[in-house]
């Protein structure tokens, strides 16, 4: 992503693409069942749900340079809290979501204090370790289902009378949330804070000497990015009526990283595209290879990185969806993406 002010041409193109995608999303349910199988609605929903998380992930990893290998932590917690809420206390989507946001805010704040002084390597490993803690806990805590997770989660209601158990209302609710999340993320990126984040990514020391409390900024973006993950997890708990501890698993966090990298970090749209790619790919692989699909995915990660002699950041600008798109529209590829 070129860190200069948005050129007018690029801006117009992006708006066009955004509008086109939104239109496609809104119109999709009309064709489902008639033009194509409604399996695609489900696939689209998965993409949108993860997309919300990826927006937050991009703020942290793409703009600030901190790749989190533990975002599953926020996702899983958002799911578990909502599920427990809907199963035992209330059937309101809003209450489930707010409670999830609340707990994740606490987690994001506390962990932020712990990881703020770490960078790159340590940060990656620490976020992994903490999410592993959640996984182990969820796996052995019988109160929330243990290894099998929580099952039999009732569908929540949006407002009295509108149940989100119906596919169509839930679909449009998710679209609305994704759009809202996207607008918020854009606003943050273009804010003073967003500029600071990019500065911290490139030269944290200089930012400090200009008078900014950089650790505080980092803790803030960490927490914000966690909140996006929380919303995503809550949506997931509504989408599928069970919440397994696998939502906390490393492979989930790893998938998020992969989605971000494939799509092109630091662009907001990139990770969304990457999500679509990985989900379609995962679906294709698992139906083709059955149990061996994860092994294949791992092998693909390996091949991917080996084929890029300059490392991950070059994959991003050469193969990423936004890189390809940019070249399609005749502009030079995005600069300074990722780390």
């Amino acid at each position: 992503m070129a860190d200069t002010q948005e050129g007018r041409r690029g801006f117009g193109t992006r708006r066009l693409v955004e509008a086109a995608i939104l239109a496609a999303l809104l119109l999709l349910p009309l064709g489902s069942g008639r033009l194509f199988s409604d399996f695609y609605i489900a696939l689209c929903l998965r993409i949108m749900i993860f997309g919300v998380l990826m927006l937050g992930f991009d703020l942290l990893a793409g703009y600030c340079g901190l790749v989190s290998f533990g975002h599953a932590m926020f996702f899983g917690t958002g799911a578990y809290v909502a599920a427990v809420t809907w199963k035992y206390f209330s059937d309101s989507m809003w209450i489930g979501m707010l409670l999830g946001l609340g707990l994740n805010a606490v987690i994001g704040y506390v962990l932020g204090l712990l990881v703020v002084r770490t960078r790159t390597v340590y940060f990656i490993f620490l976020t992994f370790a903490f999410s592993q803690f959640f996984f182990v806990t969820a796996n052995s805590w019988r109160l929330i289902g243990g290894t099998d997770g929580l099952t039999g989660i009732p569908a929540p209601t949006l407002l009295p009378g509108i149940s989100l158990g119906e596919r169509i209302p839930f679909y449009y609710f998710t679209v609305a949330l994704l759009v809202a999340a996207y607008l918020v993320a854009r606003r943050i990126v273009n804010s003073h804070f967003g500029r600071l984040l990019r500065g911290i990514h490139q030269n944290e020391e200089r930012v400090k000497f200009l008078g900014y409390n950089s650790p505080l900024m980092i803790r803030r973006v960490f927490l914000i990015s966690g909140l996006f993950g929380s919303v995503s997890g809550t949506l997931m708990a509504c989408f599928q009526p069970f919440v397994p501890p696998d939502y906390y698993h490393l492979s989930m966090s790893g998938e998020f990283v992969m989605m971000g990298l494939l799509g092109g970090m630091g662009t907001l749209v990139g990770p969304l595209a990457g999500t679509a790619i990985v989900i379609f790919l995962g679906d294709f692989l698992s139906s083709w290879l059955k149990e061996a699909w994860m092994l294949c995915l791992g092998a693909m990660y390996v091949i991917c990185i080996l084929f890029s002699p300059e490392g991950l950041t070059k994959i991003v600008s050469n193969l990423s969806a936004t890189g390809l798109l940019a070249r399609l529209f005749g502009r030079k590829g995005p600069q300074g993406q990722g780390s």
């Binding site: 500029r195 200089r206 400090k208």
Partner: protein, 246 residues
């Protein structure tokens, strides 16, 4: 009236005494230069003042406060700005954005998540003014890493200026600059010096002599001389140190 007072600062790292009992007064409204052979501890002194390093003993007085225990960002907020010996800018941002980020620090929205950076006219205008002053207005949109070394040094200075400091510290601002660029920088320093207290580390003697109101000479971590340019130029110790290490 002293803008900044350094009191008995010593710094020992790994058994090596880098600064020994340094006492320095930096008068308000004046331009002071710190000179000395390589390894004298000049940049280290800057680092101690700006909070990048902690002294083993001693105090630094600024605005009636001992700032030794403060973190760099707190010291910067108090009004001390500093440029670096090795260019320390935001390589992948445009020249304009570099200065904006610096100017932003005095905006009420400085860390705001919601207010849009592009809409901040005050900051933008200030950045444009600074760019005019340092002569980089034409290179506005260029990425910082594409600038020539001399231009990058100027950007470095510009960023420090943009924070509207009351005390400006410049660490070898003209290093790597051509004679023309150096002359332009001298003019810049002079004009800025009318409003801001300045402290410069420099090796170029002509610059030091023409621009300074006061000169401090360090050698091996100790102050060996101070005074007006004439006084220092005729000081025996100083001559020995410079001729000795010629």
């Amino acid at each position: 009236m002293d803008m900044l007072r350094i009191e008995n600062i010593s710094l020992t790292i790994g058994g090596l005494q880098i600064l020994r009992n340094v006492n320095v007064e930096l008068p308000e409204g004046k331009i002071t230069s710190i000179i000395g052979p390589n390894g004298a501890g000049k940049t280290t002194l800057f680092n101690v003042i700006t909070g990048r390093m902690s002294p083993t003993t001693g105090k630094v007085w600024f605005k009636d406060r001992n700032i030794v225990k403060l973190s760099p960002f707190q010291i910067a907020r108090m009004g001390i700005a500093r440029s670096f010996q090795i260019t320390n800018i935001f390589q992948r941002m445009s020249v304009f954005e570099n200065v904006c980020l610096a100017a932003q620090t005095n905006s009420p929205h400085r860390c705001s998540i919601f207010s849009q950076a592009a809409a901040d006219r005050t900051t933008s205008r200030k950045a444009e003014e600074i760019l005019e002053v340092i002569g980089l207005a034409a290179l506005n949109e260029k990425l910082a890493r594409e600038l020539s070394h001399g231009d990058q040094r100027r950007l470095e200075i510009g960023m420090s200026l943009a924070t509207e400091p009351s005390f400006l510290m410049l660490d070898e601002p003209t290093s790597g600059m051509s004679p023309a660029e150096t002359a332009a920088t001298i003019d810049l320093i002079r004009s800025v010096g009318e409003k801001v207290t300045i402290c410069i580390i420099e090796h170029k003697m002509n610059l030091v002599m023409t621009v300074s109101d006061k000169i401090i000479v360090l050698n091996l971590g100790q102050k060996i001389a101070e005074g007006s340019p004439e006084e220092v130029a005729s000081d025996e110790q100083v001559r020995k140190v410079y001729l000795g290490t010629a």
